[in-house]
């Protein structure tokens, strides 16, 4: 029983950490938009993840990391693909997302309808295979 209580306390701590990651991302995106570097303001939030992309660290009902353009202009498919590629290229960030329970990365445009999705655990498999080849 005591372990369960500790798990509950840990669960609250993990929620704060996840919230901090999303907040940091949004603050950096705001800074980039205000300074003029970014044509579109990006906003990240947590949503439901894809059931096919689950891994054993996935959080229930909050495995999706959704990046959405919320002002400026719409994103084209290539731009959305590029944003996703750059986020996934940052291996430290992806590993942090996976260990914190996210399993799906979404990138959506301003209208909110069309978007792209990636499985974060596939990225880890790719990294592992890469390291295997190096050895």
């Amino acid at each position: 029983m005591w372990n369960r209580i500790i798990d509950i306390v840990e669960w609250f701590g993990e929620i704060n950490e996840r919230r901090a990651v999303v907040k940091d991302f949004n603050n950096a995106a705001k800074k980039a938009f205000i300074s003029g570097d970014a044509p579109t303001l990006l906003n990240a939030k947590t949503t439901l993840g894809e059931s096919g992309y689950h891994h054993h660290l996935s959080k229930f009902l909050s495995g999706g990391f959704k990046i959405k353009a919320i002002s400026g202009r719409d994103l084209s498919r290539d731009e959305m693909k590029e944003i996703g590629a750059i986020v996934l290229d940052n291996k430290d960030f992806v590993r942090k997302l996976i260990t914190m329970g996210w399993d799906t990365l979404y990138v959506f445009s301003d209208g909110g309808e069309n978007g792209l999705k990636w499985s974060l655990i596939e990225m880890v498999k790719t990294v592992y295979i890469g390291k295997k080849n190096e050895v």
Binding site: G13, D37, A38, D89, N90
Partner: protein
């Protein structure tokens, strides 16, 4: 309608004692949980290429990678291409530099460093 507060909080002395005890237990559990949480996060700690532990992800550099790396990469690719330095002393330097530029296509920080190297080693001028 009157109500007696003593009826709502019976055995006042023991009630407050139990509140204090509960508070102490919660504090101790919190401390224990913090210790376990810190050890868990340290176990999951990961390192970058230089072997330094990475705890905080730099979101500002992520934004720079998203928005600024593409234009800088294009400019570096154009101005530091080895074919521009054929039959020159710095041809081998330009080849190495170009290879590093291609490897760091989406990394704005590294591209900036490569730009400085291109200025100093290849005497390339940028806008």
């Amino acid at each position: 309608m009157k109500f007696n507060i003593l009826e709502i909080i019976p055995h006042t002395k023991w009630f407050w004692l139990s509140i204090i005890e509960f508070g102490v237990i919660v504090l101790l559990l919190n401390k224990l949980a913090k210790k376990r949480r810190i050890s868990k996060i340290n176990d999951l700690g990961f390192e970058d290429e230089a072997g330094n532990s990475v705890d905080n992800i730099n979101m500002d550099s992520l934004m720079d990678n998203i928005y600024k790396s593409k234009s800088l990469f294009k400019e570096l690719k154009r101005k530091c291409h080895p074919d521009r330095f054929v039959n020159q002393d710095c041809h081998s330097i330009s080849e190495k530099l170009f290879q590093e530029i291609m490897e760091n296509e989406k990394n704005y920080e590294k591209l900036k460093n490569l730009k400085d190297r291109a200025k100093s080693e290849l005497n390339v001028t940028f806008d």
